[in-house]
């Protein structure tokens, strides 16, 4: 039974990884940008939520109503102001720009908040749980995180599949030059994709801050987990990212069940094994040439 429990807990942990990773996956999928500031942005969102709570007395979940829209605007501005310009100099430049951003953000947070660890308090919800089986305990907050991850990823998928802007994004991903000839302004479109990506990472960051303690440099770890989820699932596929997050979460909790100190190591090993055996990921995007 303890193994079933480990898998179930892993599923919920994976929900939080999937939520963290879907923005990374979207940005890579639409504009081939690897956003190394992704983890740092998640942590900034958590700090922003924290200071809103401290300064305005806002309830923890209400901060999402401010943080998520603010980060959507930040994402759009970051894309139009920095990354679109960087893209003109090749694929490597956005990588360097986002790396620089990640360093600036982590150091800026350290200046403002010191290196002490922080947490967003959500009261009784953080420990609330129910018992669906004898030895099985399900935390309400991890369950909520998983549900939010599934809802967010489904919503983005629907958006890409059904809306005019979503179609334009897929067309741009297939062939950017041809898409411009269809009247699609790719600079704006990239801005919208980045706005969605950064809004989701803000949501994920606040949830992360509610579930664990974080420090200004916590983004590095977040980035690694998000990356592993994206690669395990298959680049450019959002359903793959969801699956990748879940696989990573389960690998970590099952690994920890084997030996409490080896959870994260087990996650890395599964990631490496998939890179070795199926480098295109579990759910590769089937794009014919």
């Amino acid at each position: 039974m303890e193994w079933v429990n480990a898998v179930v807990q892993g599923l919920f942990l994976g929900g939080s990884y999937a939520l963290l990773a879907c923005g990374l996956s979207l940005m890579f999928g639409v504009m081939k940008i690897v956003n190394l500031a992704h983890g740092a942005l998640a942590v900034v969102a958590a700090y922003l939520a924290l200071s809103l709570i401290e300064h305005t007395g806002m309830p923890a979940f209400a901060t999402l109503l401010v943080v998520v829209p603010v980060f959507a605007v930040v994402g759009y501005a970051m894309q139009r102001g920095l990354l679109n310009r960087a893209l003109k100099f090749g694929e490597l430049s956005p990588l360097l720009v986002t790396f620089g951003l990640a360093v600036i953000i982590a150091n800026g947070l350290q200046q403002l908040w010191s290196a002490d660890s922080q947490a967003i308090k959500i009261g009784a919800l953080s420990t609330a749980s129910f018992q669906p089986g004898a030895d099985l305990s399900v935390g309400l907050f991890p369950l909520l995180t998983l549900v939010v991850a599934v809802v967010v990823i489904s919503a983005i998928q629907l958006f890409l599949a059904r809306t005019r802007t979503g179609r334009a994004m897929r067309a741009t991903r297939d062939d950017g030059d041809a898409a411009r000839l269809m009247g699609i302004d790719d600079r704006h479109l990239y801005g919208v994709a980045a706005a969605i990506a950064v809004a989701t990472v803000a949501l994920a960051g606040v949830f992360l801050g509610m579930s664990t303690q974080f420090t200004p440099t916590y983004g590095d770890l977040v980035l690694i987990f998000a990356f592993e989820a994206v690669i395990i699932g298959g680049l450019g596929s959002l359903w793959g990212t969801l699956l990748g997050g879940l696989v990573l979460g389960i690998a970590q909790t099952v690994g920890a069940q084997l030996n409490p100190a080896d959870g994260i190591l087990a996650g890395h090993l599964v990631f490496l094994a998939i890179l070795l055996l199926k480098p295109s990921g579990l759910f590769p995007k089937a794009v014919p040439a």
């Binding site: 179609r167 897929r170 030059d177 411009r180 000839l181 269809m182 009247g183 014919p288």
Partner: protein
């Protein structure tokens, strides 16, 4: 009288290489112009210039009298220029119908929508759920023309429609052309293959090494005149 399209004195360069030398093109509304010439004559460059994918070093592009030289390609689609690019460039992971809907991204009003495009190209109605990447060359070409029409262009630019297609497929595609121009769409067709395009066009303009060497009404011009201009025989003779 204002022309629908006016290209005046266009010089276009790829780095050091000059692809177009002071080229002029004029098209009146409703007309079909064939721009012909050998490989490297500057035909595709001319289309890229008109569609906004390239900028001239000097010269002007006007649509209905308005200077559009500085407009990027996506803005030109909104003002009524659509290009069916060389190589067709169908979005491979999207279905035929999705490709067509992307063509309508600019939301320009006009006679073309899914229904009328399927009427002009019945084959596309049958294939609408098929992914672009698995279509044959001829099906892709039909889809690419239909996709361009979805933006309800005033000026339709067709680049190398016949390239890589079987003669019977080429004939099919040219057969659809009158249905398009009948709706008032002005067309500029670039071709290397003369067999079909001379029948479809009102006027012919032949390019050689980036310069216009022949302009004539398609009805008056003889194949010998075209061939001479095409290969530059006239210049060597004079």
């Amino acid at each position: 009288m204002t022309h629908l399209l006016e290209v005046e004195g266009a010089d276009v360069l790829y780095g050091e290489f000059q692809a177009l030398h002071a080229v002029d093109v004029r098209l009146t509304e409703g007309e079909t112009l064939a721009v012909i010439g050998a490989n490297g004559a500057g035909k595709s460059t001319l289309l890229k210039l008109i569609a906004g994918a390239m900028r001239p070093r000097s010269g002007v592009v006007r649509l209905d009298g308005a200077d559009v030289t500085a407009l990027p390609e996506y803005a030109r689609v909104r003002s009524g220029i659509a290009l069916t690019p060389e190589g067709r460039r169908i979005f491979g992971s999207m279905t035929v119908e999705e490709n067509l809907l992307v063509g309508a991204h600019s939301k320009r009003p006009g006679p073309w929508d899914l229904a009328s495009v399927y009427e002009a190209f019945p084959i596309l109605a049958e294939l609408k759920g098929r992914r672009g990447g698995v279509l044959s060359g001829g099906q892709q070409q039909a889809a690419a023309i239909a996709r361009a029409l979805m933006s309800n262009p005033r000026l339709l630019l067709l680049d190398e429609v016949s390239l890589g297609l079987a003669p019977v497929v080429i004939a099919d595609i040219y057969a659809a052309l009158p249905r398009i121009t009948a709706k008032g769409t002005t067309a500029l067709i670039v071709e290397q293959d003369l067999s079909q395009v001379l029948k479809a066009a009102d006027r012919v303009q032949c390019l050689l090494e980036g310069r216009t060497v022949l302009e004539a009404s398609a009805a008056d011009v003889t194949r010998d005149q075209v061939a001479a201009a095409y290969f530059g025989l006239e210049r060597k003779a004079s």
